[in-house]
């Protein structure tokens, strides 16, 4: 979703890019919890029903997709216009140019931002407990109401989130190294 929105904003015609900009603007502007509540509590009024789990999935896809599309858009726009001209001069269509030349470089350049956003997503998942998804934070809260040992319970939950975030962080570091363009950035 992020890629489609980023491409639409950079390469789309006026209406397409305006639509994409508006949608991205909405989901970046709403607090994530508000988006979740709208999907779970407000949409049924319009006759659209999602289970708690799928409401959470949809909400997070929209929120994170909106943010990710900005990282990708920035990365796409930083690619020198000359490469675009070269692709066109070789007879590539706009689509071929985007798929084979622009996006491979844009996504690579956006990886650090994307990894940041994915870690946020892991942490945001705790919000899903508010619309009744039995995720870790919800479990921690119900444990706490039974045993009332907030220090141990919430600290443990926090550490598990931190562990998941660390795994994500390490995974993206590996991706970044794997797809590093030789000579362009120094290996770390």
């Amino acid at each position: 979703m992020a890629i489609i929105f980023a491409v639409a904003r950079v390469y789309g015609n006026k209406p397409t890019s305006l639509l994409a900009t508006t949608i991205v603007g909405i989901f970046r502007g709403f607090p994530a919890i508000v988006t979740l509540f709208i999907i779970f509590f407000a949409l049924p009024e319009l006759g659209i029903f999602f289970s708690p789990f799928w409401s959470a999935v949809l909400g997070f896809v929209l929120v994170t997709g909106a943010y990710q599309s900005e990282y990708i858009r920035g990365a796409i726009q930083s690619i020198h216009l000359g490469q675009s001209l070269a692709a066109e001069a070789l007879g590539m269509s706009k689509l071929q140019e985007i798929v084979h030349i622009i996006l491979p470089q844009g996504i690579r350049a956006a990886l650090p931002g994307i990894s940041n956003e994915i870690i946020y997503l892991v942490l945001y998942s705790s919000l899903a407990s508010y619309i009744g998804v039995e995720e870790m934070f919800a479990v921690a809260r119900s444990f706490n109401s039974l045993q009332f040992r907030p220090l141990e319970i919430f600290l443990t939950a926090g550490l598990i989130y931190a562990a998941m975030a660390t795994v994500c962080f390490a995974g993206f570091k590996m991706l970044e190294n794997k797809y590093r363009i030789p000579g362009l950035e120094a290996a770390r």
Binding site: H80, G82, A86, A87, A89, L90, H100, P104
Partner: protein
């Protein structure tokens, strides 16, 4: 493909940017096997002319024929036209995420729909033609400016163009790297590859060009054999230009 056949014909080309006339009625022809050099002061419309000729920019007025077919008629498939024209940019414009070999082979695969192995073989052959077969696996950031420009030339050659355009191909290079690029261009000129070259390398123009076209104020002020234009220009602006260039060479101890 007899000699004397017109490959590119340009008639009364006009182009303005934001009300400023950049091209103001340019007309010329190139025969197969001919090398024509365009020079002139910066801002005289040289780059715009090249870009109008392969439709990277649309001319406001005027007509262009490539191998007898009009390409400015709005019906022709632009991507098909561009495949027939090799374009070498001042800033190389290599694809940074691809090796030298892939830079050359990618358009063969996705534009010409060649098989991967065939595209690879042809790309290697073209890299050999510009003396870079040993650097085929390197990425652009690992190459010198001169090597990058030679990869760019190989990338254009691989498409088997009917004509090559060079837009100031050595202007972004360190002086000690210019020679290797000019050597490749000279070799291709000797193979009678039809070319239109925007450059200020007067030595190159003198040794390989069939004709120099001098551009100023959006038109061709003067054209003719290199020695005539360089030694005995008639137009005042052309005189001044070559006088300044020869002074520059003399100061360098020539």
């Amino acid at each position: 493909m007899a000699d004397g056949e017109v490959v590119l014909k340009v008639e009364d080309l006009h182009k303005s940017y934001a009300g400023v006339k950049v091209l103001n009625g340019v007309s010329f022809e190139i025969d197969r096997g001919q090398i024509k050099v365009i020079c002139g002061p910066s801002g005289s419309g040289k780059s715009t002319l090249l870009r109008c000729l392969n439709l990277l920019t649309n001319p406001d007025k005027g007509r262009v024929w490539l191998e007898g077919q009009e390409i400015t008629d709005q019906i022709r498939d632009v991507n098909k036209v561009r495949q027939k024209i090799g374009f070498v940019f001042q800033e190389f414009n290599l694809f940074n995420h691809l090796t030298a070999l892939r830079n050359v082979s990618i358009a063969l695969e996705i534009v010409k729909k060649m098989k991967k192995e065939d595209a690879r073989d042809l790309a290697l052959k073209e890299l050999k033609r510009v003396n870079l077969e040993e650097d085929a696996h390197k990425y652009p950031a690992e190459l010198s400016g001169g090597q990058k420009q030679r990869v760019a030339i190989a990338r254009a050659l691989a498409m088997n163009p009917v004509i090559m355009f060079y837009d100031e191909p050595t202007s972004a290079l360190d002086p000690h790297l210019i020679g290797e690029v000019l050597d490749v261009m000279k070799k291709l000129a000797q193979e009678k590859l039809t070319s239109l070259v925007v450059t200020h390398e007067i030595g190159f123009a003198r040794s390989v060009a069939d004709e120099i076209m001098f551009m100023g104020d959006g038109t061709i002020l003067e054209q003719g054999p290199p020695n005539e234009i360089i030694e005995n220009p008639k137009h005042e602006m052309v005189k001044q230009f070559f006088k300044r260039i020869s002074e520059l060479y003399r100061r360098d101890g020539q």
